[in-house]
Each structure stands twice: as C-alpha cells, then as structure tokens.
Symmetry: C3
Subunit: 346 residues, 3 copies
C-alpha cells in the first residue's frame, strides 16, 4: 500500500466529461464534485456538504450554484455558501475547492496545499494536439495500489509475455536482441528513457510505416513525471535511422481513487489509420488489453501484497527494473518531504 | 460510529412477528431469539447455545422449550437448561434472557442491566390504538449509524428538499415562511417540540380535512425520547386555529442492529381514508419513501463518515439542528453515564 | 480464530488433481502452485514470482519449468531460476518449495521448517487401498476456523441432532443408551477413541451387514492426529460381538486455507455396495450432508466468534467434549511450542 503524494497535478478526467451535470469522482481518497460553470470554467470541489455531509453530487444545479438535496444549502463555484434557508444571515461557510487546470486535453487537479499549485508544473502532454495525428482517449481502472501501474509501464519487457498475443508481437525473439538499448536517467523529478529493439521483422499494432519484409528498429522514448504521469513516443525506422517522427504517442495518467483503487486515464495519438470511424475500434483495442491483461495482473499483485508495501516484500530487482525503481525512489522522497521528514527525504 | 445506549427500551419488533416460530433478530450487536410461549408470553433470549455457540433459532421448539440443533441441549423460556443428553445430571447452565414488554403494539426489549429495566420508562406510543384512527406498521432498515435517523427526523426541513417530489409537497415556498414556528425544549431525557408552517395552500399526503383552496396552518408536535423513540402528531387547521386533533400520528423507532446497521420500525395512524383495503397502499407509500430517499441518504452519510463519529467531523450547526443536537447531547450524556464516566456525563 | 500449526503434514489435495496443469491452492495462508513433472513427481512451490509477485499459476509450463507470465522469468521444479531474459547471468534466485509426499491416496504437504519434515510422521490412512472395499474421495470447504471441524467430528453425538434426517438414523433414542461406551485416550499427539451404541435397530447409511430386525452393536473407532487428521473405522455386529471388520472407513483431513477458510478433504471406504456405478451417488450423498448441515453450522459458529478464539468465549464443556478438548489442548501445546513459548508448551 502506497501513501498518496498530495502536492502534485493529477488527471481528474477529460474536459469532455465535465459539463452541466454534477460529476462524482473519488480522488486521493476524497469525494470530488466536478462541473462546469455557464461561462465554461471547470470547477472541482469537495463532494460533501459541510452541514450533514450529504454528497453534493446528489443535489442539483441552480445556474452556477449547487444546492444540497438534504436541507437546501446552496454553494457557489468558489465553494462559498450563498443560502441557508432557515437562517436569516447566510453563514460564512466554505467548501474546499481544488485548483483545476485544463491543458493538453486533460483536466488536471491539485489536491495538496493550494498555495503550492503552479500550473507550470503540469507535465507536458501537448502531443494530444499534434498535427497529422489522430487522438483517442480512454479510461480504465483497477483495484490496486497506484504505483503498480508505474512499475508496469516502466518495464516494457512485460509486453513480450503478458501481451504476447496482443501487442507483444514478436514473442519468439523474447529477451534481449543484439544491439538492444535500454537507457534511463533521472532529470530532477522526471525519468527519461529509451527502449530500442533492432531488427524487428514482425509488426505489432501497426505496420509502423516500414515496408513489409524489411527489418526495422523500434524504440520507445519515455518520460515519467512524479508521481504518475507517463508519456511514450513510439518510433519505427529502417535499421540505423533515427530521424523519424513517432508513429504513436501515448499518455498514461494514474490517479489514486483510494488506497487500493486506481483511475487510469490514457490517450493514444496515432499517425497511421487517420479514419475517424476507426477511433472506437482502437479505443476498444487498447482498453481491452488493459482490462484483460494489465488490470488483472495488478489486482493479483495487490492480493499478494495483503496490505503490505511492495518494497517491504523485498522484490528481486532485475536490470530492467531500473526505471521503475528510480520512479519509486523519487516518489518515496516526495512522500517523505510531504511528511516533513527531511532526514528521510535526503 | 456511535456506541449503543444499553439501558433503554428498544423496539425489538411488532407483537405479530413473535409467535410459534423461532425468530432471529440482531439487536445492539447481539443475536436475539424471539418466540412466544404457549401461554402467550413473548420471550427474548440470546440466540447462542452456550455449549458450542450454535444459533438456537436453527433448532426446534418442544412445547415452550428450545432444543439446540447441534447436540440437543434444551432450554426453557427462562433460559435454563432442562436437558443435556449425554450428562446424567442436567448442568446448571443459563442463557441470558432479556426483559420484553408488549405495549402500544410494540415489543419492547431491554438489553442493558436487567435490574434497571422499569416498564414505566417505556415511551408512550398509545396513539397506536386511538379510536377513529386507522393504524399501519412498517419495517425498513439501513446500513448506517443509528443516530443518523434521529438527526434526519429531528430536522423536518429535509422534507422540502429530500422529499420534494413525495411528501414535501410545497417546495416553491421552501424556506421559512412568515410566522413559521420552530420550538424545541428539553424535558429530562425527552425533547418536545413543534414545527408550524402557516398559510399552506397545497396538501402533502392528504387533504388534511381542510377544504381545497383554503390556506391552512400545518404543524407537527414531536416527542423524542432517549435514545431513539420519536412520535409525531401532525395537524392541519384553518389559519389561526389550534383546537384540532391530529390528522396523522406516527411512531419512529430506531434500534441498532450493529455498528452501521439500523432497524427502523414505524407506525402511521391516520384519521383520513379509513378503508382497510388501502392499508397496504399506505404502507408501501411510506416505506417506499424511506427506502428511496431517507435510507440512501443515511447510507451516503455513513460512507462519508468512514468509521468516524459524526460530531468529530465537526458538522456546521444550523438553527434547525437545535433538536437534533439536543438529542445527540442527551445520548452523549447517557453513553458517558453508562461508561461510568461521571465527569463526562456532567 | 486459531493460529496455524506449521510443522505438520497436511492434505494439499488428491494425487489425481496434480498433473500437467498449474494448480493454484491457498494453504495455511499462502498461495501454493502444484504440478507434476514429466517424470511423475508432484511439486509444491510458493505461487509467487519473487520479482514482481505475479502468480506463477497464471504462467505456463515449459517442460518441467514454469515461466512467469509477467516478465518471463523461469523456474525449475526445485524453485531455482533458470532464465531471467534481460540479464546476462541468470540470477541466484530460489522460490520456496514445500516437501510433498503422495501416500495413501493423499498428497501431503509440509509448510513448516523443511528440516523437520519426516514422512514417517504422516498419519496412516492406508485403508484407502483396503482389499474388498470400494473407495471414494471428496472435497468440500467452509468459511470458518479450521479447528471447528475437529470439534465437530470429535463429538459424534451431533449425528442425532444435526444429521437427524440424513445419517443420524435413530433419533428417537437420542441420548445415552444403556451400555453405551465413550472412550478417548491420549497417545502422544494422537487421540484414540471409541463410541459404541448397543442395541441399534434402525440402520443409518447402510444395513451394515446385519440381518434386518436384529438388534446390533454399532461403534466407531477414531484416531485423531495433530493437528487435523481424523480416521474413523465404523463397525456393526450382532450384540456383544466385536470380531468384525469395519463396514466403512473414513478419512477427514482439514487444511486451513486462511484464518477463516478451511479445505476439507475426505474419503469413504465402504464394504457394502461394491458397484462402481454408485460411487458418484455416495460422493454426492456424503458431500451433500456436509454442505447442507456441517458446513453451515461451522460458518454460523464462525459468525458468533466475531474474530475471537472459541475457547476465549468460555464454551460450556460437556462430557462428550472430552475428545475435542483433548485435541484442542494438543493443538495449543503445538502452537506454543512452534512459537518457542516453552513455558506455555508444558
């Protein structure tokens, strides 16, 4: 079981999910109300009336205000009470709101100390709008610790076993190929890396723009940002060439719902198959793989953990865990710093 | 999460439920066996054989005795063992029984110190048999702390929001009307109060005996008795008049089953619609409102509490919470007194 | 809730269950992988890859090796890692294996200190292959403490009440008959006993080889071995005679899955009805009784325990509990000894 990093930007959802209705979503262990004002501003507020703790999302909107369904208290988009029906003077009550920024097709929420929320710290996912690419988004979830998905994505060798029949398309060569590269380096609170496999002869998801029968190099450039933002740029090029644009870019954004429940927001930005009619097919394809293969694996590991912290179980560390372990150490430093435990943070 | 007040009379059920069969009901965290002797006395006993802890309710009756289904031990209505088959001398074993009094159409149980059980302390619900009225009873339950239903019923302003489409019939005037009265006063361990709304023009449940189109005064007289007995007398009369009998009287009796599970026994005694054929319709109407509106609300609050005590979450207190807060304070004093914590009880 | 005795042989299953596939079974709170090598040896191994804790049973067999489905690590039947794909030198990793011995038609596992595992300590269930008898096996389970089934089987008087309509065939005489014998004695960590009822006139399961209308003596010889192996030899003979072979022999083997979940492996070895076509009928008969009568009773008791230890609830001890109490005391001594608590063990 991991604690949560609070002073960070997390995906609360996609902008298109936030609208006229009152959307309930559990984030970092708290119930959150999401809606959009008539002027178009996205609002995030604790989904809990301060009077008797009803969920505000069970109430109704009146213009930009929200009325509690239990005893009629009203709150504006700043969380301030605007009406307490049986009280002459409206009381000075405020519900906690959370900074929310919509950028790169993601609604980013900050649930820590509001004074520390700086939109400049939002990780870059601007590939969502890259010209010449077609973008889909998806949402899955799993019942497990949020860091398990960092571990999963930071070690892509799992493609050749867990995903052998879906996207791990060249299983017979599973294992290191001659000339294979695996590079990860820490850059502040980010980890930047590359996985490169040379001489791939069987395409995975798409033909990657390489003519059939030609051996090509395939590589993923990866940027992980603390605590749980991952971006992949996936390339393929004739052997030895590196001067190509990615044929697919992906965002993987994990937001803890609670101690053993994780939201997983993802995007896939493709240069191949520009037919909008195929978007749903691709969304089902990627979502289906997660639901059938990754999600159950992380739920299995959660079951094995039985409430323990994964690192306390002393996992064997292999060379390709380097990125995942760097990420866990970065998270551990942040958690220690948030606890004010400066000694441990160093 | 609230503790339980033990030294109090609680509704264990309705007399008609207790008969030849062995009825199992969880009350204040304990399994209780209820049955009626051949002479007609209602019996309440711990539903647990002292030998291997089988539920006695899984066994069978032999006259007024109960035989355990596991190894055949028999107990009489006083809980005394009358046969242990493989023992020459019947052992001196007694199962705990509980004082049970049937009064006002309710079976009242005392699960605290038996020496303190005084039937004179049973709250008055004699309206159950008021001449000229027709009485129905009902049972619902919810997964939540028992005090949440006190809170719910002691602040009737929730009718205008939570029940707006069912019994909160005059929503457009929601909020205090000119001349509205809200009175509550402590009388020992009871709280007595009145809610009065003048100039009501739209009937709620019934036409209340007031001609259509005539503005009338509506008021509820309420008596709460510690820990969880509530009685409403609901009146309507032409403006300014008070000399009328209630058109409906209600009992609301909450008995904790366990820490987050509550039995809710209720009665509705009506002066309108004396047709017995409509009893089932009214029972479905009132029970349905609770199941659709009140019960889910209390389960939501229980979820928000996450095992905490509601008052420890520092709810905002509004003027119309006065009755509910007086009730909570009365309960808190009783709990402290039962714990022998005299300092806290003062 | 009972702790587990670890230094003991437990039934992990029946040999026929262990084969080519990767069988997952939870034993003593741990996930265990069971399979059989090509040479026919049964293997038991912790079902947890030491790298990221995936269940090995979700992977695949490659000859006698098992490959983890997550990142491709391979382990041989001794639990030793034989391949870590992205590592030049295969790391010196070992998964814990458990001694497993197939004897008397049972696969026995030892989950304590391997150095203490001595197959000579496996309790004798050789009646499984007795000539002239026909053997069936069965598996049931219940959600309850493992010792509850010891208690259940060590006091057979429950037949006359819990099983009155199934195998407790002479209910009207329930209770001690003249000349009835109940003998139990401790022999090291075994308890050996006899229950004898004289003058039985109504057969239970079978006619027991005694002509109809003839009163006969019926007796069970019982051997309990610590912690949870029970063997019954069930006899019937004309009054006063003892020189007969049992008409049925049974094994009852309880293996804790977890704190409140128990595997129950059983066998029934009969001298009557030698028709193989009836095996399924008998298996359904015995299994059905457990599932309808014993299992629910033990789950009821588990519910009454609410996480407590049964003995801490101070059950009334009756004369026929002697065997069950001797068994519980033997288990308590073993648990204390395993904890190194020598004082308590004496």
């Amino acid at each position: 079981m991991s604690d949560f990093v609070f002073n960070a930007w997390y995906a609360a959802g996609f902008p298109g999910e936030i609208g006229e209705g009152l959307l309930a979503r559990r984030l970092l262990g708290l119930p959150v109300l999401l809606y959009r004002t008539e002027a178009g501003a996205a609002v995030a507020m604790l989904d809990r009336c301060p009077h008797r703790f009803a969920y505000l999302t069970k109430g109704r909107r009146l213009g930009d205000e929200v009325e509690c369904v239990y005893h009629g208290l009203r709150f504006n988009a700043a969380g301030r009470c605007t009406r307490s029906p049986y009280q002459e003077q409206t009381p000075d009550i405020r519900i906690r709101t959370f900074p929310l920024v919509e950028r790169d097709g993601i609604a980013w929420i900050w649930m820590g100390e509001a004074a520390l929320a700086d939109p400049a710290d939002i990780p870059d996912h601007s590939h969502m709008y890259a010209p010449g690419y077609r973008t889909i988004t998806g949402y899955q979830s799993y019942k497990g610790d949020w860091q398990l998905c960092n571990d999963n994505l930071m070690d892509l060798t799992h493609l050749f076993w867990l995903h052998t029949s879906t996207i791990g398309g060249y299983k017979e060569e599973a294992g290191p190929a001659p000339g294979e590269e695996y590079l990860v380096r820490q850059e502040g609170e980010r980890i930047v890396g590359r996985n490169l496999t040379p001489n791939v002869t069987r395409a995975g998801v798409a033909d990657n723009g390489v003519p059939p029968g030609v051996a090509y190099d395939q590589w993923n450039d990866i940027i992980w940002s603390c605590p749980s933002s991952i971006r992949f740029d996936i390339h393929a090029a004739p052997a030895g060439r590196r001067d190509v644009k990615p044929y697919m870019m992906q965002s993987h954004l994990m937001t803890p719902a609670g101690p053993a429940e994780t939201h997983y927001f993802w995007t896939a930005v493709r240069s191949f198959d520009q037919d909008p009619a195929n978007d749903a097919k691709w969304a089902k394809f990627f979502g289906g793989i997660f639901d059938a293969e990754d999600g159950p694996m992380m739920e299995d590991i959660e079951a094995q953990m039985e409430g323990r912290d994964l690192m306390d179980m002393r996992p064997v560390i292999l060379p390709r865990d380097k990125g995942a372990i760097m990420a866990r150490r970065t998270v551990a430093r942040r958690l220690a710093a948030e606890r004010g435990d400066l000694a441990a943070a160093e």
